[in-house]
Symmetry: C2
Subunit: 480 residues, 2 copies
Amino acid sequence: MAKDISEKLVAAITSMDKDFAQWYTDIVKKADLIDYSSVRGCMVLRPYGYAIWELIQKQLDERFKASGHENVYMPLFIPESLLQKEKDHVEGFAPEVAWVTHGGSEKLTERLCVRPTSETLFCEHYANIVQSYRDLPKLYNQWCSVVRWEKTTRPFLRSLEFLWQEGHTAHATALEAQEETINQLNEYADFCEKVLAMPVIKGRKTEKEKFAGAEETYTIESLMHDGKALQSGTSHNFGNGFAKAFNIQYTDKDNKLQYVHQTSWGVSTRLIGGIIMVHSDNNGLVLPPKVAPVQVIIIPIMMKKEGVLEKSEQLYKKLSNTLRVKLDKSDKSPGWKYSEYEMKGVPVRLEIGPRDIEANQAVLVRRDTREKIIVSLDNIENEIQNLLDKIQFDLYNKALNHMNNKTAKAETMEEFEKILKDNQGFIKAMWCGNQECEDIVKEKTGATSRCMPFEQEHISDKCICCGKPAEKMVIWAKAY
Amino acid sequence: MAKDISEKLVAAITSMDKDFAQWYTDIVKKADLIDYSSVRGCMVLRPYGYAIWELIQKQLDERFKASGHENVYMPLFIPESLLQKEKDHVEGFAPEVAWVTHGGSEKLTERLCVRPTSETLFCEHYANIVQSYRDLPKLYNQWCSVVRWEKTTRPFLRSLEFLWQEGHTAHATALEAQEETINQLNEYADFCEKVLAMPVIKGRKTEKEKFAGAEETYTIESLMHDGKALQSGTSHNFGNGFAKAFNIQYTDKDNKLQYVHQTSWGVSTRLIGGIIMVHSDNNGLVLPPKVAPVQVIIIPIMMKKEGVLEKSEQLYKKLSNTLRVKLDKSDKSPGWKYSEYEMKGVPVRLEIGPRDIEANQAVLVRRDTREKIIVSLDNIENEIQNLLDKIQFDLYNKALNHMNNKTAKAETMEEFEKILKDNQGFIKAMWCGNQECEDIVKEKTGATSRCMPFEQEHISDKCICCGKPAEKMVIWAKAY
């Protein structure tokens, strides 16, 4: 009976081999992460999905504060004239913003856009508050939602509105700004690897792919199950371009006026899409323990037998001190509960029934490998903590192996196209530095330059496209 | 020298007796809570102001979660047709919303408003996810910003955009919805009194003053220094009105279709305006310790003398374990620092100099009373914790006395008007229940009905306005 129900629930997810996009959508809906609404391209983040975001937020926020950053909140709207102050920036964003034209029944004299990102607002504020070198650096961050008028949208990956954080900093020197840019990129990479168990490649974007208004854009790129890349976080060095456009100047120690040097950096709810596509399987979501809203689900077996519920509640109370635990006392069958929490990606299931109690033990089941482990009740807190650590570690290594197995080198366009066909993933290939070649590769193969990784390799002397002398090794991939 | 600078800074604030509105604006700016931006009516919440909001948020969020509420995130936009589904609601809000009419260069087929509040979105979602009595109650909350197109704005008190939380719940029965409405009102009142040290009056709004679409609106009203009222939080019982408009039905235990009963409740950054106008003085902000981003500021005296900085850092490290502490090692004079942290409302200043170190003591200065207390370094953690508790307690009692001293009873319109002139504050007076009388009182005096308090008193038999039999005692006041 239990088995039947379990199979019914599982059958409801499309297999990822059959239809990866549908598999993704099924998980997002059936794990109760989101609901659709009548607002095109916007999603409802349900309690379980939002709880994952809260865990991401909390851990990132602690890291930002530990390195001296402070949170602020800027207005939701940007007047059109303010958006237009930096030429490249407005060209990049104006085509994809939502415009407010009326307040109540009154037509506005100037349109306001809903922030797609807040560089212009931070710049205006910095121009107000920065006077002397003593006021620097300013290390600000903001948690908010932003809006970009996308044509096609997918939950978490690309939506009209999404939640994110945007760091914006102002520094006295170019060197300090560059250090901040790289430090925050490293912070993101470390967070992805240690907390989300998601390996990433760090590198610099090409001119074509960099942020509108930036001197340099750095990125972390991760690889999904299907061999497509996900840009998971970016960090930009603006030099003093915005400072000149917004006149953000300070008096240095020699009493001379100088422009500040700025950075910005952001990650978003897109990371949740990454977690899904890196770790999950055909039974549903798989969550790394560090961002799992429920780390352990306790399921009593033969719940009506004397002592079972009591013991379950004791365990719940004991484990709650250090772990995020849930006890499911509902009258659904154990088999139904198994599938439900598998779908939701709870890392460890704890089964406890009359015979376990008699033997002073419990059964632990790993979500990722479905391995069963029998442990003594005496030391169960430590046993579970160790198991969670092991799951976190194993998820990372599994993802790293996957990424390595799907990273190949190409010396010719033929090799490049063959790899994309046979084993789609990251392709390392040399590039002359010319944007035309980038465009040709994209047109021919659908793959884009993801980044010029910090760890460069010498694959050949020639650009994969034009055959001219190569300047950089680029990682290419089809991308979300 | 130190004294001079101190006086210079202090002189920069307008005295509250001279110009209360200017005193308020001065504090908001000079305590670094906000900055203005080029977006009309929107403010920049600076790190110090935002840190107060984070402390409010954290403590409220813990309370909400402890009573079973879950956080979600709904879209920023509401399609015009969705806003129009509940008649009273749209009439109340449509005149004051911001309309998005264009996405990029494309004109939208249907206008979207920027959420002024999210009842309609929650209703649409509940209609999707509620089927059976087993799905109830739904106890959701959202932290976000909302937009209301106000004509005149003031930081924290009334702005085009503000940060808030909005709780939205759905219940099987009318009784449960009413309980939730009152429980959350009580939660707000307890939070204001215990955490913000701000006494409030709990009561029900009249028909005229209730929320657009609600069956009943309950409120907590607090009294500012200047004798004006601040509506500090509201809790609404919607009955099944929204459920009928949005068709939110569930199957009950007898397999019959029933409409859900709903509530919503919210508080906002307006509470920060309340903190300012209840506690602060002519030297600047005064913060209750429980929401002070810095609870103790350590100021080394004769910093260059051997051992002073070392001892200050020891103290900082020791106190940081349990308190929010800052050590100011900058080269500004102590007097300058005194005024600076007085302006910022830091509850306790700790001065430590060579003579103190020799005597194994430190000087504590209370922000609220400016009282100096000499304490031994041996037990300083406890001394400070006790002092912070005492400040929290004293601030509440001082505010309570102020409110009581400014609460009067009126039996006639002449008395009513005299009180408003002599000692503006809360006025208790009887009311017949007729909206016309409410309108007349407002027109004649500028005071509005704040609420019908839960604690009713019998002041006379007659309505203060028309002389007909009285139904309720109402608290009246001029209000923000």
